[in-house]
């Protein structure tokens, strides 16, 4: 028989899994690209904050309280005379590190539990799913506040609480897709071949559901950023004088009464921008998956 080849370029691209994975991040339109670039810039800024920041973010200068924009301080100073730009740049570090930890822990835990529940089914599924529902029912912020009450404020307690609170989001999603994937003939064919459930999950099921999990994690990153900022704003999170967007909004509140909007507005703007960007990236990846599956 004659075998007619598909277009060579397409095959070459498809033969390289690495390239294929990159395509997951490309070709989504200008909005997606802009969001992706913004996030890359944010990471860069966080990493290079000590080089980029014109001032020490924690250095107070009460003589230079609430200095306006331009001049020596590009974005002005806050009530304690600290440089707002420098605080924003350093704030990107705590702003990203916290959600990163939350997302990493909740993704690993949620994926593990979700796959276990979805693959095993039966009583294992029942126990795991009900436990996740239980955690789901407790608001994350409440959990954080309780934990802070026990362990004291700072970064650790809110991050642990959020990681726990976000796990069921990932877990429920993963359980669903794992169940779906388990019923697909390609997974069943591995069972018929005699592979153990563990090998099938690790080698075939997980890599195939990974993009879905990735999409959810990107969105969770944005939400976690917002939640942690909210905790800092409420005074349960990162403590002054450490630069943190949420804490900055809190401290900036009183300046608003004195007519200075920027100390509170600048960090708010950063939070909104980051959350929206993560949302767009997450949704873009999810769209991509939906398209690929069609």
């Amino acid at each position: 028989m004659t075998l007619t080849a598909p277009p060579a370029a397409a095959t070459a691209l498809r033969r390289r899994p690495g390239l294929r994975r990159l395509r997951l991040l490309g070709g989504q339109g200008p909005l997606f690209t802009a969001a992706l670039l913004l996030l890359a810039a944010l990471v860069l800024v966080a990493a290079l904050a000590p080089l980029l920041a014109p001032y020490d973010p924690e250095a107070m200068d009460l003589t230079a309280s609430l200095v306006g924009t331009g001049g020596d301080h590009l974005l002005g100073t806050d009530q304690s005379g600290r440089d707002i730009l420098s605080r924003l740049l350093y704030g990107a570090r705590t702003g990203l590190l916290g959600p990163l930890l939350v997302v990493a822990v909740s993704t690993v835990l949620g994926t593990g539990l979700g796959v276990l529940a979805g693959w095993r089914g039966g009583w294992a599924d029942a126990v795991l799913s009900r436990s996740m529902d239980l955690v789901f029912a407790v608001p994350g912020l409440l959990l954080a506040i309780m934990l802070v009450a026990v362990a004291g404020s700072g970064m650790t307690a809110p991050v642990v609480a959020m990681a726990v609170a976000y796990t069921p989001y990932v877990g429920r999603l993963v359980r669903g897709v794992a169940r779906q994937e388990k019923a697909r003939p390609y997974i069943e064919s591995y069972r018929v071949q005699g592979w153990s459930g563990r090998t099938i999950c690790l080698r075939h099921l997980l890599p195939n559901i990974a993009p879905t999990v990735l999409a959810q994690s990107a969105m969770n990153f944005g939400y976690a950023l917002m939640d942690l900022a909210a905790l800092s704003f409420l005074g349960f999170g990162v403590q002054p004088p450490t630069a943190d967007w949420g804490a900055m909004i809190n401290e900036g509140q009183s300046a608003i009464q004195q007519g200075a909007m920027l100390p509170a507005l600048a960090p708010s703007f950063c939070i909104v921008l980051a959350v929206v960007a993560f949302g767009i990236v997450g949704e873009g990846i999810a769209d991509r998956i939906a398209k690929r599956e069609r």
Binding site: M1, T2, L3, T4, P6, P7
Partner: protein, 338 residues
């Protein structure tokens, strides 16, 4: 089905002999990055009132694209030339309002998967009456008509069925509902795209029985798209065979199946596993159907054709008259086929 259906159409209020569907040299292209060849290449096809016309082909033949064009449903970014005239008017150049009116009144479509063509959340009654209500029929009349239609497609307790939702029906029963909805506007033409492919054989027989009976009673033209040659042979008056976007052969069913002129038609017939005792084992056609990424010069079937000559890969054969039908093969008159 031996009734002369053209006489039945007379009472339908339309001219008896004017075709209800005329596809005239329809060519449909996608942008170059999506397809290397036209999805449809000079396709011409007619359906007369009361006639059952089969459109047969494999995947990528363009049969589904062709039949969807009848409702003005075209793939995104498609460019067309030629005409698709329904009851004399070209649907490709129609405005939105005219198109909607045509879909509501002149043409109805029955798709392969009934579950995909019915809103799962709405009651069957709403699904059946919405088209009628949209054209200004009062609610009570629309309901009465829906009951009558459900009865006609053999649904027991039609009044009760109106209140039920799609998931309460089996696939076969739901396809009956879809057929009832298709007939609600009393269309001149029904386009059925593989309407029984997703159903069991015994259910298929029932659905076909209903479809052909109602069509004969009402003098509706039926364009029946299928990959199943035996099914087309069983119910169609005439058949068009498509390959790679072109009509390769057409003619009255009996002649076409008894004495195919195109090697592709002959190949399709001999590779279908037949049930009758003594039927030979299916003989495969080498190779595979032409994908949209390939644009072979000359006859698209040449690469798979056991009778191909050098000129077959150079010149596109024209669709010319042979006996009672048309065939697009350079060697159609040579008697090469057994």
């Amino acid at each position: 089905m031996t009734t002369d259906r053209s006489t039945l159409a007379a009472g339908h209020g339309r001219t008896a002999d004017a075709p209800v569907l005329e596809i005239d040299r329809l060519t449909l292209r996608l942008p170059d990055d999506r397809a290397a060849r036209p999805l449809l290449d000079g396709v011409s096809l007619t359906v007369a009132p009361g006639e059952t016309v089969g459109l047969v082909g494999e995947s990528g033949s363009g049969k589904s694209v062709a039949c969807r064009s009848v409702l003005g449903l075209l793939p995104a970014r498609a460019r067309t030339s030629g005409q698709v005239r329904v009851a004399g008017r070209d649907v490709l150049t129609m405005g939105r309002a005219d198109l909607a009116a045509t879909r509501a009144g002149e043409v109805a479509m029955v798709f392969q998967d009934p579950r995909a063509s019915v809103n799962p959340l709405r009651r069957v009654g709403d699904f059946l009456t919405e088209g009628l209500r949209a054209t200004g029929v009062p609610a009570a009349r629309a309901t009465a008509r829906a009951v009558e239609l459900l009865g006609a497609v053999g649904i027991r307790d039609p009044r009760g069925a109106l209140r039920r939702r799609p998931h309460e029906f089996s696939g076969g029963m739901l396809q009956r509902v879809v057929i009832a909805a298709a007939l609600a506007g009393d269309p001149a033409l029904v386009v059925a795209d593989e309407p029984t492919t997703a159903l069991d054989v015994t259910t298929q027989a029932e659905i076909i029985a209903i479809l052909t009976r109602l069509q004969a009673e009402r003098g509706t033209g039926l364009l029946f798209v299928t990959h199943d040659l035996e099914l087309a042979a069983a119910i169609c008056d005439r058949v068009y065979v498509m390959y790679a976007g072109r009509i390769v052969e057409t003619g009255p069913t009996t002649g076409l199946f008894d004495r195919p002129r195109h090697p592709y038609t002959a190949g399709l017939l001999s590779c279908t596993p037949r049930l009758d005792p003594g039927a030979p084992a299916p003989r495969p056609i080498a190779g595979r159907p032409v994908s949209v990424a390939e644009a072979p010069p000359g006859c698209a079937f040449a690469a798979r054709c056991p009778y191909a000559q050098p000129r077959c890969t150079q010149e596109v054969p024209a669709l010319t008259a042979h006996g009672a039908g048309l065939a697009a093969c350079h060697r159609a008159d040579e008697g090469i086929l057994p």
